[in-house]
């Protein structure tokens, strides 16, 4: 930037040339944006669009390498099986929704609180921020590894709590159907809250400070400032990041796959985890594709809401 300005002021006055792209080669500027998006478009067509379409295709097929005699066109059979015969489907769907709603609302609540706190001025703020945000970087399998260690029935946190008189020895939080849900929720919150907090903090910092100054001159209390300035300003970002996060939590399988494996007794199997089990272990690709199609329809609902709320097409400023 500096060099450009410097050259501009030092050079002799010249007639204003048109932008180089438009000037040099007649058709270049019209082709340029297409050339620029081409790699992204090709990659996404090949590795997102095409696989999605083939999932739709396989959902109407019986396709299972371990039962080749049955392979072939299935029509709606996979889907009727899902909704009428499948004993796991509704359970896993219900668990998915429960998981997503509890997880995302807690993440939002704690993330907002955390962002408001670290947005204050206090001694040691940057260190504090770095520390509370650090689990953001740790995700998936590593989170599971850490919490498997913490929840271990022999040497985990419950042992030391029992030492000081809280709970009993040998409590296994991950293999007890009563505790596994909250144990997994806490593990996921550990890495999810910082992410939410970072998003919200970024938006907090974009609020013009003179709004607060003006409010303060008018004698508005901090609570009123929060309700009338902070919240309205954050509204859009909160809604959109909550939606994105919900989809992300719905889709993510890393944590539960490695932390609980969907157990005990299928207690923590989300729909995507069930699909992964069906396709990878069960090798029933046709059926898994039909399940995936159902998951897509559910996600489609989320994306419609998201597109509507993000006012798609209204160019982001």
């Amino acid at each position: 930037m500096a060099s450009a300005v410097a050259q501009k002021t030092s050079g002799p006055p010249r007639p204003l040339p048109r932008p180089p792209g438009r000037r040099r080669k007649g058709s270049a500027p019209r082709r340029l944006p297409y050339l620029l998006i081409a790699p992204a478009v090709l990659l996404m067509l090949g590795f997102i669009a095409y696989p999605v379409l083939s999932v739709f295709y396989y959902s109407a097929q019986h396709y299972n390498p371990t039962k080749p005699w049955r392979n072939g066109f299935a029509g709606w059979e996979n889907f009727t099986a899902i909704f009428t015969e499948d004993t796991h489907f509704w359970g896993t769907l219900a668990f998915s929704l429960k998981w997503v709603s509890v997880e995302v609302s807690l993440q939002l609540l704690f993330g907002l609180a955390l962002a408001l706190i670290v947005n204050q001025t206090f001694v040691g703020r940057s260190l504090g921020r770095a520390l509370v945000f650090s689990p953001w970087a740790v995700s998936g399998v590593l989170t599971s590894a850490i919490w498997v260690l913490l929840y271990n029935s022999q040497t985990g946190i419950t042992r030391y709590l029992a030492d000081v008189g809280i709970g009993e020895y040998g409590t296994s939080l991950l293999s007890d159907t009563g505790t596994v849900f909250w144990a997994a929720i806490v593990a996921d919150l550990w890495r999810g809250v910082p992410f939410f907090a970072i998003l919200i903090l970024a938006d907090l910092q974009s609020i013009p400070k003179d709004l607060y100054e003006a409010a303060e001159v008018d004698g508005a209390s901090r609570i009123r400032q929060f309700v009338h300035i902070t919240l309205p300003h954050l509204k859009d970002a909160i809604i959109l990041s909550t939606l994105l996060r919900a989809v992300w939590e719905f889709n993510n399988v890393d944590l539960l796959y490695t932390l609980t494996g969907g157990g005990p007794a299928g207690e923590t199997t989300t729909l995507p985890l069930y699909i992964a089990h069906t396709s990878v272990e069960g090798r029933d690709f046709g059926y898994a594709s039909a399940l995936t199609t159902v998951a897509f329809v559910i996600l489609l609902f989320f994306s419609m809401v998201y597109l509507r709320l993000s006012k798609f097409g209204g160019e982001t400023k």
Binding site: L32, P33, P39, M44, N119, F133, D254
Partner: protein
């Protein structure tokens, strides 16, 4: 009080005699520095309102980290809550016997390749979105937004077949491509947001000086994109480093596996070697922690450049 206000914006010094709270930082503090000024509306929050919840949250954040270090550094069988006597046996064991040296190399290669590919492709796409109007722009945006909702995990089977057709199964290239593709939509949206924040007039000024579009981009825009590129690149790296399913599915020989898959095998066994698991976890965390420490100051700035709202 007056000395404090003179460090603030001029319009405020006029209200120095206004309500007590308007201008005062915490009593006994030196004049508020420029950086602090940003948050002055909240200056009068009681200290314990900050430190108490933050302290509780810090305990929640840090205990798991301490726990994994503890298990990695103390001898098997010890129940002490301090890692003493210190031992590095677990590290040695996972690094050599459990082939974490190989996993580490594979993960690093995959992560760096994903970072480079994602950044380059997203830079081109982001520039097109930010600076041009073209016919399919709307559709491109729509595709980007929608593809954020497509779960990679659910496309495992067709992706596996595609990579099998391309003879890329058991090649790191399959994982690199898959990670790149699923990082792209968000990266393009982020980068186009960052580019939009660079005034177009600066680029035009460079053209006036005779720069080509590409040179103008390199000399004028690229330096100003640094925080954004760091944010996007580190996302791509960290995501690929941590992600597990693609590597698990597309790489089937042990010498091609990555760290998360290695960690999972340590967890999967019935007799879990907790020391090895902890040491493996620490090894997995190291690069991510380094990246994180390095980008932390850019992270929030990067986000607040405004792209997150989509």
């Amino acid at each position: 009080m007056i000395t404090q206000d003179t460090t603030r914006s001029p319009d405020l010094s006029a209200t120095a005699s206004g309500p007590d709270r308007a201008g005062s930082g915490p009593a006994g503090r030196p004049p508020v520095s420029r950086r602090r000024k940003k948050n002055r509306a909240w200056d009068e929050v009681p200290r314990w309102h900050i430190y108490l919840p933050l302290g509780i949250y810090l305990v929640f954040t840090l205990v798991p980290f301490y726990w994994i270090l503890l298990f990695a550094l103390r001898p098997t069988g010890s129940t002490s809550l301090v890692p003493w006597p210190l031992t590095f046996d677990h590290f040695e064991k996972v690094w050599t016997e459990r082939s974490f040296a190989t996993y580490f190399e594979n993960s690093l290669l995959t992560g760096v390749a994903t970072l480079i590919m994602t950044t380059l492709v997203a830079l081109a796409g982001g520039y097109a979105l930010a600076r041009f109007d073209f016919k399919v722009k709307r559709w491109f945006m729509l595709a980007l937004l929608c593809s954020q909702f497509v779960p990679g995990a659910l496309l495992l089977v067709p992706l596996f077949q595609i990579f099998a057709d391309l003879s890329l199964i058991n090649s790191l290239m399959s994982v690199i491509i898959a990670e790149t593709v699923f990082q792209l939509p968000l990266s393009i949206i982020l980068i186009s947001g960052f580019i939009r924040n660079v005034p177009y007039s600066l680029e035009e000024a460079a053209w006036v000086d005779g720069c080509s579009r590409f040179t103008a981009f390199r000399v004028v825009v690229l330096p100003m994109l640094r925080p954004g590129l760091v944010a996007v690149g580190s996302f791509a790296f960290v995501h690929s480093w941590n992600h597990f399913l693609f590597a698990l599915m597309f790489l089937n020989s042990q010498d091609k596996q990555t760290i998360p898959v290695g960690l999972n095998t340590l967890m999967g066994a019935d007799s879990v070697d907790l020391g090895a698991l902890a040491a493996g976890g620490v090894i997995a965390a190291v690069p991510v922690v380094i990246v994180f420490a390095f980008i932390q100051k850019w992270l929030v700035t990067g986000f607040s450049a405004g792209a997150v709202k989509g």
